[in-house]
């Protein structure tokens, strides 16, 4: 069995086993499916996706969980356009239908939330209304109507969400269903709703169900032990079942970053699949979901019987051509998803558009030009030089080479990758290096000349093509300013410098350091023994991972931040609560609402933001995880010489790749 084999889903047949699952994109206009959605899905269909499930639409106006959440009654034209755009490539197109229930928000609707019982939303504390019989009927009817609309729009079917953010799961779970009326029979609502949906669909369209099979709350929630029976009971209504996990206390479980292992639901999927097959044979297909980004893992899931299909959503955000590349036998050409969640996770008040750090065109298909997929005539663009082989320089070199340039890529270091290699040397960040490894491999495959260990000076630029515009500076960042006093004997090390000392980092999938290497690494840290303070004015992932790294080596760690919450900026990637839990479990001392004032040999002095009082924290060294400055080697070089990435302004991989690509496309 291969990922590429077709498979029947009830009355329809998918051309292969790879699903592009439903996810928030913020691509909508108002509450409809937009032209941006159409282009986004069409690109995945073009790249070979077997089944495309469109972003969830609310089946009733009582549900408006985020500003751009599609509403089924406004989605029909958009669904039709997506179907028309995707069907020529062979993909099945499914509409996701749902209702977030008590996990929604009233901020857009200005109405109360509806839920089975009055269980407050965990983050916002909003108390929902306990649904009345008429409310239940309205949602059930809404599903039937939406299903009929989906069929009328030319879609192949619909998928009901009983996963992470869903009213259906809230009825199924003892965590959220505390009713004493007929819906105390917890599967009743799901059954009513699935029957109405099937009635709306007719017999010629596909009905799927996305079901949370582990709520990670065994005291009252759905557990893996119950899930087989639950899935078997509900599977009789559907053609396929997607096995997911997570609930009100574990919202990040839908799409965790690298802190959860890849394929974390595969065991669950296997056990649910066997229960479903026992009850229904192979007429109900089981789809595995959960951080499956590698083709080999997806193939393994099919071979091991964990699933009949595999959802690879982020993998196809990172590379829309994933299936096409597998079909062409070039799996190594698939741009890896590194599960960083930095650009693709968009449940955020600011309504960011779904995208990818490595594939900036994702989500921007209607506006961004696409680099050629295969090299055009060599030499068409003449010679091009890129100084700096971090993500900006690598992407620039890759795309310039695809466009037919003869590219020379120069870096002062003895490896390509720039600061990404160092930054990926701390726990939970290891996978980032896969992106620069892929970029390097692509550059080498395309014949980019890579010259390492060569420090370029301003005087060299003329010879390197500065005058004809075929030169890019992508030389990265330098240490930032320090806004605190440092006494002469004090040890202050920048986070980047600390992590660079650990290079080359041992590459390990699990993120754990192997025994035996530990002492070696401890030596390489080069810090005086004893407690370490980490100063974090940013609240991003760096300080948290450095603190974890040091705590993992037995160092007492003090993490100091001016914020109310450690890792303040991590909510976008879903790691905010998990990061705080990991730090607590690692015994890291958190000093919140404190400003670093002075570093001495044996302690650091911090100021309480609200009282102005100074406190001393015993520490023999300080790691500065603050902002960095642009590399200033070429500060005086004329602005007509192009620049990209951190040497413009130190930011993240996403901006570096985007700017590198833009330059290469501008040639």
């Amino acid at each position: 069995m291969s990922l590429l084999d077709p498979i029947a889903l009830g009355p329809r047949t998918a051309p292969n086993r790879v699903m592009f699952g439903p996810h928030e994109t913020n691509l909508g206009r108002g509450r409809s499916i937009s032209d941006r959605h159409v282009a986004y899905y069409a690109r995945r269909a073009e790249g070979g996706a077997g089944v495309i499930v469109v972003e969830e639409a609310s089946v009733h106006e009582s549900d408006w969980p985020y500003e751009r959440a599609p509403l089924a009654t406004e989605s029909e034209p958009g669904w039709a356009a997506v179907a028309d755009a995707c069907h020529p490539y062979g993909a099945l197109v499914i509409a996701s239908l749902g209702h977030a229930g008590g996990q929604g928000t009233s901020h857009w609707s200005q109405r109360e939330l509806w839920a089975p019982s009055r269980v407050p939303e965990v983050d916002t504390r909003e108390v929902p209304k306990q649904m009345e019989a008429a409310d239940v009927a309205a949602v059930v009817d809404g599903c039937g109507t939406a299903a009929a609309m989906a069929v009328a729009a030319g879609l192949d079917g619909v998928e009901i969400n009983a996963g992470q953010h869903s009213l259906v799961r809230q009825f199924l779970s003892g965590l959220t269903n505390q009713r004493d009326d007929e819906w105390a029979d917890r599967t009743r609502f799901a059954r009513e709703l699935l029957e109405a949906t099937r009635a709306g669909l007719g017999s010629d369209a596909v009905l799927g169900l996305r079901l949370s099979c582990d709520e990670y709350a065994p005291w009252a929630g759905i557990t893996p032990d119950d899930a087989g029976a639950l899935a078997a009971e509900l599977a009789r209504f559907v053609d396929y079942l997607v096995v997911v996990s997570g609930s009100i206390f574990t919202v990040a479980a839908t799409r965790p970053d690298t802190h959860e292992p890849a394929g974390f639901n595969l065991g669950l999927s296997a056990s649910v699949r066997s229960a479903v097959r026992e009850a229904h044979g192979d007429c109900v297909r089981v789809v595995a979901q959960g951080s499956i980004v590698a083709v080999a893992m997806a193939e393994g899931a099919l071979k091991d019987g964990a699933a009949d299909l595999v959802e690879m959503t982020r993998a196809q955000i990172a590379d829309p051509d994933l299936v096409a590349k597998v079909r062409a036998g070039s799996v190594e050409a698939v741009r890896p998803c590194v599960r960083c969640n930095q650009q693709c996770r968009v449940r955020d008040n600011r309504n960011p558009i779904v995208s990818c750090i490595g594939e900036p065109r994702s989500g921007h298909e209607t506006t961004d030009p696409e680099p050629p997929g295969t090299p055009v005539t060599a030499g068409a663009l003449g010679r091009v030089t890129v100084v700096g082989a971090g993500p900006a320089g690598l992407e620039a070199a890759r795309v310039a080479s695809l466009r037919g340039a003869e590219v020379m890529l120069i870096d002062a270091a003895d490896r390509v990758g720039g600061s990404v290699r160092a930054w990926s040397g701390a726990p939970g960040r290891e996978s980032l290096v896969e992106l620069v490894d892929w970029l390097e491999a692509e550059c080498r495959r395309l014949g980019v000349a890579v010259e390492l260990g060569r420090a370029v000076t301003p005087g060299d630029l003329g010879r390197l093509g500065a005058d004809d515009g075929h030169l890019l500076l992508a030389t990265g960042s330098a240490a930032g300013e320090r806004g605190y006093a440092v006494t002469p004997a004090a040890q202050v090390v920048n986070a980047a410098e600390l992590l660079a000392r650990l290079q080359p980092a041992p590459v390990q999938a699990s993120g754990a350091w192997q025994e035996g290497e530990a002492s070696n690494i401890a030596d390489r840290l080069g810090l005086p023994p004893g407690p370490v303070a980490v100063w974090d004015p940013i609240g991003g992932p760096i300080a948290v991972s450095v603190a974890e790294l040091l705590a993992g080596h037995g160092r007492p760690v003090h993490l100091i931040t001016p914020d109310q919450i450690v890792g303040n900026e991590l909510s976008r990637t879903g790691d905010l609560a998990p990061a705080n839990a990991r730090l607590a479990q690692a015994g890291v001392s958190l000093h919140r609402r404190r400003i670093l004032r002075k570093v001495r040999k044996r302690d650091v002095e911090v100021e309480n933001r609200f009282t102005g009082e100074l406190e001393r924290i015993a520490a023999n060294s300080l790691i500065d995880a603050g902002h960095r400055l642009p590399d200033d080697t070429f500060a005086d070089v004329d602005r007509s010489v192009s620049r990209a990435g951190d040497c413009v302004a130190p930011r993240t991989i996403a901006q570096a790749v985007l700017e590198g690509r833009r330059w290469a496309l501008s040639l």
Binding site: G539, Q564, Q655
Partner: protein
């Protein structure tokens, strides 16, 4: 009898004459769509023009594509904004009110999220909110910024605006250049104040050239950034003099704080005294002859008049006051001060929605943000029905107001001796007193509209039937709910409402449990600390009173809490009570901790008091319910429910 002589006197700002001194100053609304002004903008500003404002200054219009810090920003640099500008200015001019456009580039106080371009700023100093290192712009880019201002000013002139205001105060690239905290340049745009002000003066010159002599030009300056190493009043005074010396500027506006660092002092909540920023216009006015606008929680006309009379300023910015009541000026001018729906400075639905990318509203004015949809407009009914409202909290009062407005005969019964519901309790804490204006305003409006209000009357289904109403609105609120772990007979575990009503008087060691994340726990904690209790506030969340951050109350809460010795502990979930000991689970680690205390005060979700509704529904009576009786939420939800249900009868 109108006593505010100065406030209602006309004033010339260069080529523009204002009928009075009440300014609806610039503020974000999030009404824009796709970078363009919307019909809601026009309706919103027109309402304040109709309501008598002397001058309206719109929210900012961005001057350059590198500036896009929040999603719903007007991209003034695109010419497709001009039809929207015309719609706004025509709607406002219909009420013979001048309207200026504020134009701005937010500089480093932004991110690349929407632009996908580097953020531009004087120096690579990351903003404390956006935390993105900006690109230090070069000379050519400075020229581009200046050209952008000129273009946008010309677009605004073409769109029919009467003047332009340059926001150089709290979120601006001009502020970035002016402030030593963000300007580290060594060229002739950095160092001395004259250098730091160079961009401002170039912009003044470029914009004046673009708009010619027929439009007014104003500059808004920050008098104190309230940040380390930032601009203070001495610099501001000197810059004001430089601006006046150009001869190209017609007025000065003022501001305090940095939007991305000290916002809680820009849009101060009720915990900051009114008029707190008047020292700024006062200081500027001493050295310049230009008219100066003062801002800072001006809530009522008398207070505004006093600021003018005392010489602090020549005009008064009343923003939230006119968000709460679009007819603030007209009512005040007509001597009907008691009819003004006074702003509470609660920040819940205006300021509190801005940072969350939501449209601007008002806790007590359901029409705000919905003007274009016609919310709150009187729609007389042919035959008035007899409406009975059960419950006189914010939901019941608003339902009564909306129904009476349309001509129904409304009776409202409240079981207590006073209306106000749980809002009265919330406002009983000294520093939350202004919150009580919500229900005082509603009571006054309901009375004016002829609602018959009966207090001390508890309605049951029989009582409702005996009154023979055509329709019933149940607004019976909520009642405290006991968490599973709290023994029902334990008298030392009490609800917040028990403490506020005086039914319980905790003393000694008190643990306040915050599961609501708003003012409930923090208010009662302060009250008890003031009474000498040793108070610890505990929450399962990551921050006590998490939503105080949204209303800009978190900073001042922390300052007061620290000074009162209130301890705050996070990530603890109560699990059981034994004797005098509460056991709690530290959920990130699974560790159990204990607290021996004399009292536990609960700020936990309440239960709806929905019996009357359910019984009436069962009997087939036409009945609607609003507010906490549907689901216990915050006051705004009750007001919105009441307006919707009352207006639809």
């Amino acid at each position: 009898m109108v006593s505010e002589r100065l406030l209602w006197s006309p004033l010339r700002l260069g080529p523009v004459t204002l009928r009075n001194r009440v300014v609806f100053s610039a503020h974000l609304t999030n009404y824009a769509a796709d970078g363009k002004p919307s019909p809601q903008h026009a309706a919103y500003y027109a309402e304040r023009a109709a309501g008598g404002a002397g001058l309206i200054i719109t929210e900012e219009h961005s001057t350059h594509p590198t500036d896009w810090p929040y999603e719903k920003l007007i991209h003034g640099f695109n010419r497709d904004v001009i039809p929207g500008y015309r719609a706004i200015t025509e709607a406002v001019h219909a009420h013979r009110t001048p309207i200026f456009a504020q134009i701005n580039h937010n500089g480093g106080q932004a991110s690349s999220m929407y632009t996908r371009l580097p953020v531009w700023a004087p120096s690579p100093v990351a903003d404390p909110l956006f935390r993105e290192v900006p690109k230090a712009i070069d000379r050519a880019e400075i020229d581009e910024i200046i050209a952008g201002y000129a273009t946008v000013a010309a677009n605004c002139a073409e769109g029919g605006f009467d003047g332009i205001e340059l926001q150089c105060s709290h979120s601006s690239i001009v502020r970035g250049f002016l402030s030593p905290a963000t300007n580290r340049r060594t060229d002739d745009y950095g160092g001395s104040l004259a250098n730091r002000a160079r961009l401002l003066l170039q912009l003044v010159s470029a914009v004046r050239s673009a708009i010619g002599p027929d439009l007014a030009l104003g500059v808004r300056l920050c008098g104190d950034e309230l940040i380390e190493g930032g601009t203070t009043i001495d610099d501001a005074v000197e810059v004001a003099q430089m601006v006046e010396a150009t001869g190209a500027v017609d007025y000065l506006n003022t501001s305090i704080g940095v939007a991305t660092a000290s916002l809680y002092m820009i849009e101060a909540s009720m915990h900051i005294p009114p008029g707190y920023a008047s020292f700024i216009p006062s200081a500027l006015r001493e050295v310049v002859d230009l008219p100066v606008v003062g801002v800072g929680r001006f809530k009522d006309p008398l207070q505004a008049e006093r600021a003018l009379a005392e010489g602090h300023c020549d005009l008064v910015g009343v923003v939230r006051g006119q968000i709460a009541d679009g007819h603030f000026a007209a009512k005040s001018r007509a001597g009907q001060v008691e009819a003004v729906r006074l702003c509470l400075s609660c920040n819940q639905e205006c300021v509190g929605r801005m940072g969350l990318n939501r449209w601007l509203g008002c806790i007590e004015n359901p029409r705000t943000g919905r003007e274009a949809e016609g919310v709150g407009v009187r729609r007389p009914v042919a035959i008035g029905r007899r409406v009975l409202v059960a419950g006189g909290g914010p939901g019941g009062l608003q339902a009564a107001i909306a129904a009476a407005r349309n001509g129904h005969q409304v009776t409202l019964c409240e079981r207590h001796e006073l209306t106000g519901g749980s809002v009265r309790l919330a406002a009983s804490v000294p520093n939350r007193a202004e919150f009580g204006d919500l229900v005082r305003n509603q009571f006054a409006e309901a009375t004016r509209l002829g609602v018959r209000i009966e207090t001390g009357v508890t309605l049951d289904a029989e009582g409702v039937a005996s009154r023979r109403p055509d329709v019933v609105v149940v607004a019976t609120g909520s009642r405290p709910a006991r968490p599973y772990w709290a023994p029902g007979d334990e008298g030392r575990i009490v609800d917040v409402t028990d403490v506020l009503s005086g039914a319980a008087a905790p003393s000694g060691r008190v643990l306040v449990l915050d599961e609501l994340g708003f003012h409930h726990a923090t208010s009662v904690a302060e009250l008890l600390a003031d009474r000498g209790c040793q108070v610890e506030v505990v929450t399962p969340g990551m921050v006590v009173g998490q939503d105080l951050g949204v209303t800009l109350d978190l900073e001042t809460w922390w300052i007061r809490a620290e000074s009162k010795g209130i301890v705050q502990t996070t990530e603890l979930v109560p699990m059981g009570w034994e004797g005098d000991t509460l056991s709690l689970l530290h959920h990130p680690t699974g560790a159990m901790v204990e607290r021996r205390v004399d009292w536990v005060v609960l700020a936990v979700p309440a239960a709806p008091a929905d019996e009357l509704y359910l019984e009436l529904a069962e009997r087939g009576v036409e009945v609607h319910r609003v507010g906490d009786a549907v689901a216990p939420r915050r006051a705004h939800a009750a007001v919105v429910d009441g307006e919707r249900v009352g207006a639809a009868l």
